[in-house]
Amino acid sequence: MIETLESMYQEAKDRLDAADSTEALEDWFRAHLGRKGEIQLMSRKMGEIEPADRPLFGRRVNEVKQSLQGAFDLRSADVKQREMNASIARDALDVTLPGRRPQRGGLHPSTRVMRDIYRIFGDMGFQIYRSSDVVTDQENFEWLNMPPEHPARDMQDTFYTTDENVLLRTHTSAGQVLAMREYHPEPIRVILPGMCYRNEQITARSEIQFHQIEGLAVGHHITFADLKGTLTEFAKRLFGENRQTRFRASYFPFTEPSAEMDVSCFQCDAKGCRLCKYTGWLEILGCGMVHPVVLEYGGYDPNEYSGFAFGMGPERIAMLKYGIDDIRYFWSSDLRFLEQF
């Protein structure tokens, strides 16, 4: 019996050396170490052995099992490794072939810039206030200190509707007094985004519609110094920490004092280039202290309250930021343009 066991052992070892695939190893295991394998069967034949030899035989069976199991494990790891290597070698790809691309969408550049502006002003406590595109003469002009025949009305080529008191807003400042009337007498910090319209020729530089973001802060102690501080903070966050601002006197009927804010050119670092027309400065927004007449229309007593307002064009900012040289791209919705965002 013990001889049979030894020859089985020997034969099993030889066969194991010959098994060189996962399948062959599985077959080998079934034949030798499986539940119905030779060695298992041998251990069940214990009864056929002299009682005195049983301990020895039993020990030997276990030794053989363990030895074969050990050899099998080693052999399996080896075969598995080889097979994996072969499979890896077989499956090598041409990694330069193009990938399967999902369809990618994109936000319009105006939306992207407007969100940047919302975010920055939102951090400073400015809420978004929206008002309508089609407005009255009062909203667009009179409440902003531009009574009929005011010369500043000529600065904006207005689209009038067939109803003479109704027009397309030329600036989102048209919502200023509405916001004041709604929030009065609370202090105010709002930005007013929206589409504006001007009766101009459509060219690379001018459009009949464009977005504007107006800003308005009203309170008891708001100063021109606050305006400078707030807008400079905004400019640095939008264009970069190293940007400088320049405020120069200007004119808007609804602010006094009024200013234009220029930002040092981010392309040439204010050295002078084509983008800034060799001035080192980019004109970014108009601003000023809210005119007392406008405060009064909004229900705020100019002797107690003061405020500042500012307005900027997201398309102009997008053009500067992305180096877009033709404003007509914005509403053409040409995918060759949009897909770049």
Partner: protein
């Protein structure tokens, strides 16, 4: 407005470089929009100080070998004169006239080695080299303006005639004579006072602390008194509050002196003759437009209406149908709001804008009636626009010129006509002032200046000082607490209304750049957010994730353009422009989808795959309302290949109804809501491939479908034959308004799910939606997911029937389901579906 710095320096000392001056003025509200440097450092052509000099012409002789050349002998400051060979046509008049030194005639000269602009080589810079010209060696050149970069004139050399007002010295570097810089300043409406050289000089003086030197307004009047010779009257004092007239007789018409011509040219005006030039010069110098009439012409007309009486000038509004030919020869049909200068015989000029043709100065005119008036700026502005007349005078009067300026302008013109044109000024001035303008006095609290500017340390004395620099009269800074100042605006300003205007002046002269920057310290308003905008932005984000590009289109369109969508014009009222800039942008849109289809069709010319959306407003106008509702919509258009072409996929599989429906379903999922799709018919969409989208409660919120082939045609989509173009339009206000503000989240299941497949045979006419609803109903809470994975009709399925195959997912929240639980459920579903929709197991 062009401001030559040499001219500016006549009224104020300037120590700044042209660039520094440009930025000083820009920061103070006079924006420089151009800076031209002439001859000096920084110019395109810099005149060498040693080699480009002023030369005096001493003698002009014939060239022995050439008829077209002459030999000019010039003094250029050296010990010996130099002979220059030149072909300048304007020197031939001096040939054979012997010694010219008494004529005091000068010309710029370039010596060998200096650079000039070569008019024969596209004005390229070129170094002068000595060489013989027809046998005579020449190493210098007398220059035309163009060769020096001084304009376009190349008709002859620049000849400068000295006169009693300007002396020159031979050999002076040309830089010191004609070197200059010209600032171009954008005169915005509130700085009308700066539309003159003196106006700018006054600002420079205030900003730098220098002194302003006003030109003298003295006039030597020796002529026959004007009294009784000219009378003025206006019918509209509010439109013409002042009219100043003077008479200058015996004027000699000739070219104006060089210095005046040169200044006019630098300022962008063409010199004509001394009378016109003086009129223009004073307009530019003081900002007071003025007009010169032919006195004898007016007198001859007066002989018709009052042989023994004075010339009577009347300003009045134009009559209905009245016409006037202006001095540019254009006949204008006048409106009844246009103010005119007339006499009893008829009209003479359009007040404040342009003179008439008949009464203008003629070559033979010797006697001049001078007008300097004040006009209402609103009226002038309107007339200018109506008659499309844009003149230097109109530019200023339409922005406002203070009536106090009228006399100053008249005096200056009269004296210059006397001095430069040999005229005699009639004794006296006719100063007609039907409306007195009160000076503007403002009570200014210094605390208000501090409160608005943020300059917390400013005191009354400083404020007073800053305002005085601009010629405001200030009282009260030493009285009482010195906190309320009484400020009188100077009489060249028409823009001061109240204390806020003075705050701007204080800040401007103090310097905007010196005002500190502070953080808003005022109390923070309630932070409310803007839920509707935030929801719209969320919709955009979801659609971008789903592979669509955001479009923004024109909100202006035409009813005809929109009719392409349905094929029928929309009869409901539009917001219509009274003055559209182009006929194709004339009304505010009624359909967002129509706008997006327009740009999608445009894109189809060069893109096969289209996937666009827009979130935007439409503007329907209710009958009888003056303003539209502004409703937020979402429109989507997709067409073309579903996938990018790939080496394992030819990318030729075209999107259809279900691609866009999938997008809409995902949008609903993203918004954490559910929508119902039902077949519908909608104009412009293809019947049978169109669905109505509604909320769970049945409220319709939009439409989704394949466009009707005729719609595709009307938009001129460039797509393949029978290729579907899919579109959807949703009512965002309604959808976003009904969203659950705080949707709940289900816990992640603890017990495993079991998936079963089930194929049902139903009547072909039954919709998948009906079967799905029946399945859900029958499946109860254990059936957590129903996925349709196959729809089949044909072999092995009875005619008139179809097979629908589903993956059904069962899951319990309280236990691990066993096979027998699922089996029970499955049998129940089958039994119930047989009853509800007549389904059998396939």
């Amino acid at each position: 407005m062009r401001v030559p710095i040499s001219w500016l320096k006549e009224y104020v000392d300037v120590d700044l470089s042209p660039t520094e001056l440009d930025s000083l003025l820009t920061n103070a509200g006079m924006e420089g929009v151009g800076l031209e440097i002439i001859g000096l450092e920084g110019a395109d052509l810099v005149w060498d100080r040693e080699l480009v000099l002023l030369a005096q012409v001493l003698k002009v002789d014939r060239h022995p070998e050439a008829d077209k050349l002459v030999l000019a002998s010039v003094d250029y400051g050296a010990d010996e004169p130099k002979t220059v060979v030149t072909g300048a046509p304007n020197l031939f008049q001096y040939l054979d006239q012997g010694d010219l030194s008494d004529r005091r005639l000068f010309s710029p000269m370039v010596l060998e080695g200096a650079t000039y602009l070569d008019p024969y080589k596209d004005l390229k810079p070129r170094k002068l080299k000595g060489k013989p010209l027809r046998g005579i060696y020449n190493d210098a050149m007398l220059c035309s303006p163009v060769e020096l970069g001084l304009g376009e004139d190349h008709d002859g050399i620049l000849l400068i005639q000295e006169d009693e007002h300007r002396a020159y010295r031979a050999g002076t570097p040309l830089q010191d004579v004609l070197g200059d810089a010209v600032l171009d300043i954008d005169v915005i409406p509130n700085i009308a006072r700066c539309a003159s050289i003196v106006g700018i000089a006054r600002e420079v003086a205030a900003l730098t602390g220098a002194e302003l030197r006003m030109p003298s307004l003295d006039v030597q009047m020796d002529g026959e008194p004007i009294a009784g010779r000219v009378e003025i009257h206006t019918e509209h004092p509010e439109l013409n509050p002042r009219f100043v007239a003077m008479v200058i007789e015996g004027v000699e018409q000739k070219p104006s002196p060089f210095w005046m011509q040169h200044r006019l040219r630098l300022a962008g005006q063409r010199p004509i003759n001394v009378v016109v030039d003086i009129s223009n010069y004073v307009l530019l110098e003081l900002g007071q437009p003025n007009h010169t009439f032919d006195y004898d012409f007016l007198r001859a007309r007066a002989d018709q209406y009052a042989p023994d009486g004075p010339i009577r000038l009347i300003t009045r509004l134009a009559h209905e149908g009245e016409t006037l030919t202006t001095l540019d020869g254009v006949e204008h049909e006048l409106r009844t709001n246009n103010i005119l200068v007339t006499d009893p015989e008829g009209n003479l000029s359009v007040g404040g804008i342009m003179g008439g043709h008949d009464s203008e100065i003629r070559p033979e005119t010797t006697n001049v009636l001078l007008e300097a008036a004040a006009w209402n700026f609103i009226n002038i502005r309107r007339t200018q626009r109506q008659l499309a007349m844009h003149t230097e005078a109109g530019f200023r009067f339409s922005r406002g010129v203070h009536p106090a300026q009228a006399e100053r302008g008249a005096r200056r013109v009269a004296e210059l006509l006397r001095v430069l044109a040999g005229g005699t000024v009639a004794e006296g001035i006719v100063d007609y002032r039907p409306l007195e303008i009160e000076p503007v006095v403002v009570e200014l609290e210094v605390s208000y200046v501090r409160r608005l500017s943020g300059l917390t340390d400013l005191d009354g004395a400083q404020v007073a000082d800053l305002l005085r620099r601009l010629e405001f009269e200030v009282e009260g800074e030493n009285a009482g607490d010195g906190e309320t100042l009484r400020v009188t605006a100077p009489d060249h300003r028409i823009d001061i209304e109240g204390p806020h205007d003075l705050v701007e002046e204080v800040c401007r002269i103090y310097g905007y750049h010196r005002i500190p920057m502070t953080v808003l310290a005022d109390s923070l308003p309630p932070q409310r957010g803007n839920p509707s905008l935030e929801a719209e932005e969320n919709v955009k984000d979801i659609l971008v994730e789903l592979g669509l590009h955001e479009a923004i289109t024109y909100r202006l369109t035409t009813p005809e353009a929109e009719a392409r969508l349905s094929g029928e014009p929309d009869e409901s009222p539009y917001v219509r422009l009274a003055n559209p800039s182009t006929q194709d942008r004339a009304v505010m849109r009624h359909s967002l989808l129509a706008s997006v289809l327009e740009v999608a069709a445009g894109n189809s010319r060069f893109r096969r795959r289209l996937a666009l959306f827009e979130v935007g407003n439409i503007f329907p106008l209710a009958e009888g309302k003056d303003r539209p509702e502004e409703l937020a919509k979402l429109a989507m258009v997709v067409a073309g290949p579903r996938d990018h072409a790939h080496w394992q996929n030819d990318g030729e599989s075209m999107m259809d109804f279900f691609d866009l429906k999938g997008v809409v379903e995902c949008l609903a999922e993203g918004l954490q809501t559910e929508w119902v799709f039902e077949p519908t018919e909608q104009a412009g969409f293809r019947p049978g491939k169109t669905a109505r989208i509604s909320l769970a409660d049945g409220t319709a919120v939009g439409v989704l479908g394949e466009l009707h082939p005729l719609t595709v045609e009307r938009y001129e989509f460039r797509v393949e034959k029978d290729q579907p173009v899919l579109a959807a339009e949703l009512d965002l206000d309604l959808i976003l308004g009904r969203l659950d503000a705080t949707p709940s989240v289900d816990p992640v299941p603890v017990y495993p799910a079991i998936r079963e497949d089930l194929a049902l045979v139903v009547d072909a006419g039954l919709s998948a939606g009906q079967v799905r609803d029946a399945l859900r109903e029958a499946g109860g809470p254990l059936l957590v997911k129903v996925e349709l994975f196959d729809v089949y009709q044909g072999e092995h399925v009875e005619a008139g029937k179809k097979s629908l195959a589903y993956h059904l997912t069962f899951q319990s929240r309280s236990k691990t389901l066993k096979d027998k639980d699922v089996e029970k459920q499955r049998r129940r579903i089958l039994a119930q579906l047989e009853k509800t929709v007549g389904a059998t197991l396939r």
